[in-house]
């Protein structure tokens, strides 16, 4: 016991030196957190003139008039939420169906892999390309069928009140739905695949049909993962900028009609920042702050739900 054994001396040597790898990891992690803090700090700092000038009234103000120094962000806030929610309403059933299809053995594995790859490829298309595609394809469609909707449903349902514009809330929401489809599909599929085999087999053993097994056992088990997919997709939809700015018509007028131009916070920033000055810059920064809070909040909730889901599924094993 007087002389240390060879192994422990090797261990001592290992422990005595500084753990460079660990330090590097710490620095990298701290830098990421610090960057986020820095961004928020800078936005708050630059927004402070508008915060002190308008306070809470900024959020409830209906008029955004840069040339008169009146800044109220309500129309853009509503536009952001409405466009994202419509996109989710369209993309969720679609994305979930694709996810179920890809997680079951309806098709041979190689074919499923190809479909999965193509859907996930949708996420790799740049936003501006979606915008151009929207201009070329979706706008003419919405113009044509929107006019029919406005004529037949407009008088009775305010959501379809005419005149119908190509650059409208509906166009933006449709393209947004396509853009968030891969997020919903990929995360939901992972959740569905993670459902323990024993549960599936148990359902079949009890005499459940495939649909009963999917709807009664697999989907409920994967539900938290699907919810998380939806919330994360919502976060992405809220922050989307370029395609929206190209398609939504960028208006700050409040209207019920989906066929009218509207605006979002991200679009507002992209449009007005270049030529802004004085209080307008501060107001845009205030709007940016709201957008950050909104997307950050949504993402945190999504992340939390996802974590809980993973824990539960792991626990069930």
């Amino acid at each position: 016991m007087n002389s240390p054994s060879p192994e422990s001396s090797a261990l001592d040597e290992y422990k005595s030196g500084p753990d460079i790898f660990r330090i590097l990891c710490w620095v990298a992690a701290a830098a990421t957190v610090a960057t986020l803090a820095w961004i928020v700090y800078e936005i708050v700092k630059q927004a402070s003139p508008a915060i002190s000038e308008f306070g809470f009234g900024f959020i409830t103000g209906k008029v955004w008039s840069a040339n008169r120094d009146i800044f109220g962000v309500l129309p853009f806030l509503i536009g952001t939420v409405v466009s994202s929610v419509i996109a989710i309403v369209i993309a969720l059933p679609l994305g979930l169906s694709v996810a179920i299809f890809l997680s079951e053995d309806f098709l041979p594995l190689p074919v499923r892999q190809v479909v999965r790859f193509v859907v996930e490829l949708l996420a790799a298309i740049p936003s501006v390309v979606y915008g151009l595609w929207g201009i070329a394809v979706v706008i003419p469609l919405v113009q044509e069928y929107g006019a029919i909707l406005a004529k037949n449903l407009g008088p009775s349902i305010p959501l379809f009140k005419g005149p119908a514009f190509g650059n409208s809330m509906l166009t933006a929401s449709l393209v947004l739905a396509l853009m968030i489809l891969p997020t919903i599909t990929a995360i939901s599929r992972t959740a569905l695949v993670a459902v323990p085999k024993t549960l599936r087999e148990g359902a079949y053993a009890l005499g459940a049909t495939r649909w009963e097994a999917i709807l009664g056992v697999i989907m409920p088990t994967a539900a938290p993962g699907i919810v998380a997919a939806t919330i994360l997709a919502l976060g992405r939809a809220m922050g989307e900028t370029m395609a929206i700015a190209m398609l939504i018509g960028n208006s700050s007028r409040l209207t019920w009609s989906l066929l009218s131009p509207s605006g979002t916070l991200a679009g507002l920033l992209a449009n007005e920042f270049g030529e802004a000055s004085g209080l307008q810059i501060a107001s845009l920064m205030y709007a940016a702050l709201l957008l950050v809070v909104l997307t950050l909040g949504v993402n945190i909730i999504g992340e939390a739900v996802l974590r809980r889901a993973q824990k539960n599924v792991a626990g069930a094993l």
Partner: protein, 339 residues
């Protein structure tokens, strides 16, 4: 658009050429930033100027008037450019002093999309009404009154405006505010205003695309954009009640009837002369009154002088208006005050 892109590409190619060949020559580089509207012309000047003066390189960044004024005020560039010139307040912030030089000019036109109908005439009351949202149909009796014999369709007017802050909006709203008290009260003037009607696109190209794509659409764009895209342009009534077709000549007539003040800053917000097209504007190059480096100062002044003389011939082909002789003479005099 294609001309702009190819001229940009040429500018880039020439820049690259000089970047490699430049080390052998004694090179002077000057940089400017600002308005996007005159950018194709300034970039053309920069190429031609470099071709004539080997070793001189002018970089112009088209970042927008507001950003141009910002960079100019913060001393980040050797010259700035702005469609809205600079306000007295803005000029007071520049320690080295400011000289405003109108460098070129352009008309703003109302491009529209009515298949088969060219040269629609719009009275002052009507086009102000369209952008206020009070005239909403193409077969409105007020439009029909100015266009006898034309079968106007029963179509909604889709107003197309700018979503981003811009000098074009500044000049156009200034004009509308001058001719319509209601517009002045309800909308006002500025680089970005809240329009009571319509859809908005980013940049002149965005509005052009909107008009092109929307049957019944009408939007305000720079003359060159409507011309390149072959969009019909409305004939507008001027202050003296005359309907004027937007052309290079009618725009030049407007500029010629303007008496430039001492500081060379004026907007012909409501011209009344015979044959004057109602919406034409100068766009300005912003120079410092004093430069620390004589070499830079000479290069900047030479470049602007080149633009005002030889450079004017490139204006019409790119959709701009040649400056009248009287304006050029005043600009040259102002350039001599730069130290």
């Amino acid at each position: 658009m294609t001309t702009h892109i190819s001229s940009l590409a040429r500018a880039a190619a020439i820049t690259a050429l000089f970047a490699t060949a430049g080390s052998a020559l004694a090179q002077t580089q000057i940089s400017g930033a600002g308005a996007s509207f005159p950018a194709p012309l300034y970039q053309r000047w920069s190429q031609e100027f470099a071709a004539k003066n080997p070793g001189m390189q002018v970089n112009y960044q088209s970042v927008g008037s507001g950003a141009g004024i910002k960079q100019f005020t913060e001393n980040l560039v050797n010259f700035g450019a702005s469609d809205a010139a600079m306000t007295d307040e803005q000029m007071a912030k520049v320690a080295k002093g400011v000289v405003l030089i109108p460098a070129t000019a352009g008309s703003i036109v109302l491009a529209y999309n009515l298949p088969g109908l060219e040269g629609i005439k719009l009275s002052r009351e009507v086009y102000a009404g369209i952008f206020l949202g009070t005239v909403t149909k193409w077969n409105d009796p007020k439009i029909a009154a100015a266009n006898p014999g034309i079968d106007l369709p029963d179509m909604d007017i889709v107003v197309c405006v700018r979503s981003d802050g811009s000098g074009t909006t500044f000049v156009f709203t200034k004009h509308l505010a001058a001719i319509s008290p209601q517009f002045k009260d309800e909308v006002g003037e500025g680089t970005a205003v809240t329009w009571p009607v319509g859809v908005a696109g980013k940049g002149n190209e965005g509005v052009t695309a909107l008009v092109k794509q929307t049957p019944g659409g009408i939007g305000y764009v720079e003359f060159g954009y409507a011309q390149h895209n072959k969009l019909p342009m409305a004939t507008l009534e001027n202050k003296s009640g005359e309907f004027v077709v937007p052309t290079e000549e009618s725009g030049a007539a407007t500029l010629a009837s303007v008496e430039l003040p001492e500081n060379l800053r004026i907007w012909p917000s409501d011209p009344s002369g015979k044959g004057d097209y109602p919406i034409a504007t100068f766009t300005w190059i912003l120079l410092y009154k004093t430069y620390d480096d004589a070499k830079i100062k000479n290069a900047v002044v030479d470049f602007v002088k080149f633009g005002l003389t030889d450079g004017q011939q490139f204006a019409p082909e790119l959709g701009y208006i040649k400056l009248p002789e009287s304006v050029i003479a005043k600009c040259m005099a102002a350039l001599d005050t730069v130290q």
